[in-house]
């Protein structure tokens, strides 16, 4: 990067200050807003059919839902440790924590697939009734977010490998990726009680 600036080089500034708030917050805000709408629509549809929704919710296995909640919270903690290590400049330490986060987080996908298969085998599909329409749609959209999150974690792991020092760009990626993964966790923390516990036994 050349030290001087020519008059025509209008304010091109490669270095992003480490303290800058990652712009991914705009995406997080928009995504949380959309989930808030989904929750509002679910709750308003539930108003007229509370007994149907409650009876359907009881057919979900709350233990699996709770297990998934614990998996994601734990995974989030591991990823947060990875981000902290990266901020201290230790990329190989960061990589180790990120791998742990991926491995634990991977458990969510396994549980979800087991849960979906068992529901479908019992004849409970998105077309069964309105509750199950929401159950599959909301957990399905969340699952897509989760898969994207896993892909992001893999990208972060790659970056810790290819970067030799924790430069501001690598840190921005790691910070942003961590924030996204925490959002995936947060969304599930709301989904779980709303779908599994509300009206459930």
């Amino acid at each position: 990067m050349s030290p001087g600036r020519s008059p025509s080089d209008l304010a091109v500034d490669r270095a992003v200050p480490v303290s800058a708030t990652p712009s991914i917050w705009a995406f997080i805000a928009a995504d949380c807003f959309s989930f808030a709408i989904f929750f509002a629509v679910f709750m308003s549809e539930r108003l007229g059919k509370a007994s149907l929704f409650d009876e359907s919710a009881r057919r979900l296995d709350a233990r699996l839902g709770l297990l998934n909640t614990l998996i994601l919270i734990c995974s989030s903690g591991l990823v947060a440790a990875g981000v902290a290590a990266a901020q201290k400049g230790d990329l190989s330490e960061a990589r180790r924590w990120l791998w742990r986060g991926v491995i634990v987080g991977g458990g969510f996908g396994v549980v979800k697939i087991v849960e979906y298969s068992s529901k479908v085998l019992h004849g409970l599909t998105p077309l069964t009734n309105d509750f199950f329409m929401f159950y599959y749609a909301l957990t399905g959209v969340h699952f897509l977010h989760y898969l994207i999150g896993l892909a992001v974690l893999f990208v972060l792991i790659r970056k810790t490998r290819s970067a030799t020092i924790a430069d501001s760009n690598t840190l921005l990626w790691i910070n942003s990726g961590g924030i996204y993964w925490h959002m995936v966790d947060l969304l599930w923390v709301f989904l779980f009680p709303m779908l599994y516990l509300l009206g459930g036994r």
Binding site: S6, P7, S8, L10, A11, V12, D13, R14, S23, I24, A26, F27, A30, D31, S34, I37, F38, V41, E45, P126, L127, D130, M133, A137, V141, L144
Partner: protein, 240 residues
Amino acid sequence: MVNPYRYVRTCAWSGPILLFIALVFWAVIGHNIPPFSADLDAETFAAQFREHALSIRIGMIATMVGGVLYMTWGVAISKIMQALERDNDVLSTLQRWGAGLTALIFVIPCGIWTTATFRAQTMNPEMLQMLYDLGWVIFDVSFSLTTVQMVALGVCFLGDTRSKPLFPKWVAWFSIWVGLMFFLETLMPFFKSGPFSRSGTLNYWIEFSIFFWFMGIVSYYTFTSITRLEQEHVARPQPV
């Protein structure tokens, strides 16, 4: 003097003009606020559609003719993106293609709906309903053509290293988010009523609102970017 931004502002006006056409002609005159529910039986649907056939015909023709503006709008946005691209022109090309193909999604479904109005008074109600459904399935489920445009645009503008970026980062993220939100439309063919149906809270009111906001917000920053890029071009030392 060579002006690399000649015609770009003209093309950029396509965005606001198409937004106007979409809101006034497609939405209001075309009776799409919201569209007719998929839950109606054919006879009821046909009766309502026939009552407004002339108005719908006018709205749809205007949208068919205006649809090309989405393509020309995309060309303007590409010129802004090209000012930022360093390694190659993949992102601006993807954006241009996405915008161009989306233009067809204005034209073709509206052509189907115009056809439905053509002999609406004498056509069999089931056929009328089928044409209406056909237009909507193509209109809604072809979203990924537009997602490519939105994600390419967003990724490109996230890579702007200016201390004051041409497009604010939140606009780039908003663009990516809108493109990904469209995936809810995959549920539309499964439901004839409720929030995921073509006239539902999520798959109509939210999805279409965020699309129109996208067009407005990106149009605004396209204009401001053109001004800045023209100024940068003029300030740059010219070859003798």
